[in-house]
Subunit: 226 residues, 2 copies
């Protein structure tokens, strides 16, 4: 039975890693489609969401099966619980990549405006934080996870800066009100990607350190160890 | 052992119901603070988030304890799994009520604009869908849960209508660009409340019908039975 559990947990971990790669690819492609105005690539992201959804259901069912057939404790139990939560965050990140892809059409030809509003800077930072969150799960790296939680604040600052840039731009040119509003909605989506990455990081810390850091206000919990 | 499991599941269900009431109250108060420009009430919502966070951790730990000490199957297993997911959605709805409360200050004195942009209509609909999602868990009502999933589309339509109203308003009066952008960001938050309510509804259907309807494109899965 112990051997069975070990094997199932290994398979579960592999599934989460594959789901992570798939969602990362969806996010990368949605940004590429946005900045290059590539409608075909945007459509590909939208169509591929089915694959993400199927993976999500598969992982949920796998967790359910392991719970029903074994009685995991300690690390094993935390691995299944965090897999459930991480899977849910990844699936929602997949949905957000679809939201981004769906906005490519209305923002077609606005590449210059997107760059002026530093949306590309934000996308680079968010792609990094998403990659880090998946890496920290793959490598069981709680220290990397802790650094993500601090990084999220940087994204929030950028988010506020873009808000100011957008309102300024709209005030100086009323023809840009509609595209700027689309960018504002887009940026809210991008910011949510970083929130989900933070959730994943918190789940990894729970998995490795057996400590729930979510809602923790103690900076010692969040600072990477020297 | 079976008796122990039953008792623990009952306690878990009670905790989720209490968490649901608390989050519902937070959402109601954040809207009240927004429309009445009540900064004290907004501050109360922000301060009370700690209570929501503590409840969230308590429920997570309770689920972990039940898993570690028993080997639940079938409905019992689904109840714990869905409690974990519902708890996570409720906690994020609590965070959104804080986001709404935090925006009360910048929208002070904009009650008329908020009503013109039909944000109050949207808040009424979203409060209803949130209440329904909690009720369907409390009463184990899968049919009510299915009607929520259809209701969510109505909110999306309202969301798009508000987007058009806002851009129109900004074009006709550039002094309103900043408050309208705050409203746009606010509406994105309100819309997310309805997404979380839909997630809860899907979890209730999984709990009651043992069927994963998330990502389902089959309308038969979603339609309330005649």
């Amino acid at each position: 039975m112990l051997h069975y559990l070990e094997e199932e947990l290994e398979k579960l971990k592999e599934k989460i890693i594959k789901m992570g790669s798939l969602v990362e690819e969806q996010i990368d492609n949605s940004f590429k489609a946005l900045f290059e105005g590539d409608l075909d690539l945007a459509q590909k992201v939208i169509s591929r969401d089915d694959e993400v959804d199927k993976f999500d259901v598969k992982i949920d069912k796998h967790c359910q099966r392991i719970f029903a057939l074994t009685q995991p404790v300690a690390f094993d139990l935390r691995l299944i619980m965090s897999s459930l939560m991480i899977n849910s965050d990844l699936e929602r990140m997949g949905d957000i990549s679809v939201n981004i892809a769906e906005r490519v059409k209305v923002l077609l030809g606005q590449g210059e405006l997107l760059r002026k509003m530093i949306v590309d800077d934000m996308s680079v930072k968010v792609k990094k934080i998403v990659k880090m969150s998946i890496d920290c799960f793959v490598n069981g790296d709680a220290e990397l996870a802790k650094s993500i939680i601090n990084f999220d604040e940087e994204i929030d600052r950028l988010d506020r800066k873009i808000f100011d840039l957008l309102t300024e731009e709209m005030r100086s040119n009323s023809d840009l009100i509609v595209p700027c509003c689309h960018i504002l909605a887009l940026v809210r989506n991008i910011e949510r990607l970083s929130d989900h990455a933070t959730n994943i990081a918190e789940d990894v810390i729970f998995l490795i350190d057996a400590k729930m850091v979510k809602h923790s206000k103690d900076p010692e919990n969040l600072k990477p160890k020297e």
